[in-house]
Amino acid sequence: MAQLLVKGAEKWFRREDGRPLKILDRLSFEAREGCVTVVVGPSGCGKSTLLNVIVGLEPLDRGELVFLNNARELPRRPLIGYVFQSPRLLPWKTVGENIALALKGAGVDQREREGRVHRYLELVGLKEFVNQYPLYLSGGQRQRAGLARALAIESDLVLMDEPFASVDELTARQLRQTTRHLCEQLHRTVLFVTHNLAEAAYMSDFVVALTERPACMAEYLANPLPSPRQWSPEIYGFAAELESKVTLKEEGDL
């Protein structure tokens, strides 16, 4: 488990006509150790790009990412778990095999893999589905499997990119509860991206509000709501406060 410091991050893309397009503009914030930091911002502001930069899918053009463990910089490449918007499970592998492969990639010993697979599938409520292929699961179950995979590698940081955006609202609510509950229990450092402010209010310990593209930090807020978190009217009160800090391009995001 680690703390992430994003320092002056800048990222450009090249448009089709060759002109540069700035996505991230001197973005600085921290994801505290053992806390859920939620990044909110308007659609298309660069939230997913930020996660891609952190996980190494895109290079950073300027600035730096620092991973700290007990105030010391990690001496190795950080291990990062990722819950994607779509679960991205290998359909030809069973749920258990998908998690075991991630564990193998993370260098977990073969003897330990089976135990971890079962432990984390039990935590997300999929114990009985260890030998099931992903295409035979519902959308919510697949997302749970993706969550189990990201948590099972016991990484320094877990990234979540709008993980509940592709499921219906009732399932999303159940998944939020499970995820928040597990984050509180396991004390994982989580960076959670969403444009749903009620979700941000429920999931967060801290909130980073971004401006429109190019994204820089508009606000860094501590969530005043108590943990363990419950769905309550106060969630919507904090979401309304967030709304005043974030300019949303589209209506109905709340």
Partner: protein
């Protein structure tokens, strides 16, 4: 760690989300539907060919041997001790040549689909290879290597290689980028990426290429055997041709076709079904 009540709650929640019953849908159909759905259509297709052949034989009895006399000749061949030997020789050549071609085509196809320079280098060579007929390769192989086993292997491999590469290359270009990114995020090694992420996505392309390749390979082998070997089905067909025994020519052809159909249904289909068991069956036109 979680308390038992939390785990029970999560389990109950997950079970409420069940969209499909656990376990796969039964692969077998009731016997009646099995017969009408799977067995009858290919039988009807074969019977149609047989009826057309018989009709042609009735119209042109001097031009074409009858189905029954050909069948009789095929039975006679089967009862001869040398039949299995010649069949084995031809099938061995088909398979060795195909496996060599498959090995190189998977490597080159993945290279072309993932490395721009690889695509630029191999694309003109593959297009060039596609334009060269199998007959030419058969002649070149016999002239290069003489009458030995290298000639049919070489002819089969170089003839089907471009078709296989085209299929694999197309499959690699259509790979799911999201899964590749996932494998990068979770630190998959290069070998894990190839064996667990890339090759499984290429299975449909590999099977399509295998079917096409085998069909082409046996034609090339027969040609090579006609003038470049002293055994095999092609050699026997040539012998029958030289004494103008059309019944034997067709009987040898039919037995070889039957062997290839057995391989298609008995081996390739079974392996494919096993490798794609993860995929739910899609019925576009439900009955």
């Amino acid at each position: 760690m979680t308390s038992p009540s939390d785990t029970r709650a999560a389990t109950a929640t997950a079970q409420e989300e069940v969209a499909h019953p656990q376990g796969f849908p039964a692969g077998s159909l009731p016997i009646g539907r099995e017969i009408t759905g799977r067995i009858l259509p290919p039988l009807v297709a074969l019977a149609t060919v047989f009826v057309l052949w018989w009709a042609l034989y009735l119209v042109f009895p001097r031009l074409l041997p009858g189905p029954l006399s050909t069948l009789h000749e095929a039975v006679r061949l089967l009862s001869e001790g040398t039949f299995l030997f010649h069949m084995y020789q031809s099938l061995r050549r088909v398979f060795v040549g195909s496996i060599v071609a498959m090995f190189f085509s998977v490597a080159v196809g993945i290279y072309m689909g993932t490395v721009v320079m690889g695509e630029r280098f191999f694309q003109p060579l593959v297009v060039l290879g596609l334009t060269i007929p199998g007959l030419m390769w058969s002649l070149i192989a016999v002239m290069l290597f003489g009458i030995n086993e290298i000639a049919p292997y070489f002819a089969v491999a170089v003839t089907i290689f471009p078709m296989l590469v085209i299929n694999i290359w197309a499959g690699v270009k259509a790979l799911d980028k999201e899964l590749i990114d996932m494998s990068h995020v979770f630190h998959f090694s290069p070998w894990m990426k190839i064996s667990q992420v890339i090759v499984p996505q290429l299975v449909p392309n590999i099977f399509a290429a295998t079917r096409y390749g085998l069909g082409l390979a046996w034609k090339v082998v027969v040609v090579v055997e006609m003038f470049g070997t002293s055994n095999g089905v092609g050699y026997q067909v040539m012998k029958a041709y030289q004494i103008f025994n059309m019944e034997a020519v067709i009987a040898w052809t039919l037995t070889f076709v039957a062997a290839m159909i057995l391989i298609e249904y008995g081996v390739i289909n079974l392996v494919e079904r096993r490798l794609t068991a993860w995929r739910p069956k899609v019925e576009v036109w439900r009955r």
